[in-house]
Symmetry: C2
Subunit: 159 residues, 2 copies
DNA sequence: TATTGTTATACTCTATAACTATA
DNA sequence: TATAGTTATAGAGTATAACAATA
């Protein structure tokens, strides 16, 4: 069966059925997350931030004196995985680590003025791009989606 | 300031503010996705499947003769990343690769009887666990969430 | 020239065990 | 004995360049 000629670069005419998957919430969630994640990476690139470094920076700015273990808990990542993130932010002079007087094991994290400036600019960009994504979506639909996502998160299985 | 004694294993009393993040849809999405993803991994573990191998298996079962490039497109992953997935499914005798007569570059993917049996059992498990996650959520809320996720996916930026 | 599948490679995110220094 | 931070390491997921065979 001869293939019909195709314009180079044109996406091939495929219609792959995903009937048995598209009803799965996890599948829907993954696809949407991949889109958001790669777009967010693009949005944060000019600031040399990734989703994780951005999140850490926001949380340190909002919670002065935060300890690394508390931050890891809040970000729902393991403590070892936070080390490189904090090191990167510290090296770029966006956060500082101060020893806690009464517990010399811990560090109190503080955002620097440069960090605060950067997080404000990055947040503005993030919110602009979020708005673009959510444009055309009814506020009630978005609110319902938020509710569903929180419900999922709350139902986390442990162990 | 002396720290109050704490029961070992007890989670520390922290209340980290995420006021400036929790309104971000991407942040909500990431947290929910992480929960679903790790739970789904646990659900698929008895079948020795991951989300990616499960997805590939379902799509091959549903689209006999599918080519690898079409499958990669459908899964929204790059072609090179599909190779190991198909190799794994083929090694486990769950899918077969047949040469396409009129195009000797391509492979036509087919599910084996063993693959079909496995995908049915895995799908039942996935659906059971999805139902557990979504339990207590109003159907309209779930529908709205699905709509929002599809909207996000549709709005994908390219390039 | 372009496409299919492949190899090689690199970067990111995640997870665990084990160490040090403190408590 | 337990906790804070760290090191080392491994496993996944994702992305790009370049290749051989074929169209």
């Amino acid at each position: 069966m001869p293939e019909r000629p195709r314009i180079p670069g044109e996406s091939p005419v495929v219609s792959v059925s995903d009937r048995r998957l598209r009803g799965h919430f996890g599948y829907q969630l993954k696809r949407a997350f991949n889109v958001i994640q790669s777009d967010l990476a693009r949005t944060l690139k000019p600031f040399e931030l990734r989703m994780l470094t951005y999140t850490a920076l926001v949380l340190v700015a909002e919670n002065p004196g935060l300890r690394q273990s508390q931050l890891a808990d809040a970000m729902e990542i393991e403590r070892p995985n936070l080390v490189a993130i904090i090191e990167e932010l510290e090296r770029r002079l966006l956060v500082e680590r101060h020893r806690v007087p009464n517990d010399r094991r811990a560090y109190a994290l503080e955002v620097t003025p440069a960090g605060r400036t950067l997080v404000h600019r990055a947040t503005a960009a993030v919110e602009t791009h979020e708005a673009a994504f959510l444009q055309g979506l009814e506020p009630e639909t978005r609110a319902a989606a938020t509710e569903a996502l929180k419900h999922i998160e709350k139902g986390r299985r442990r162990g």
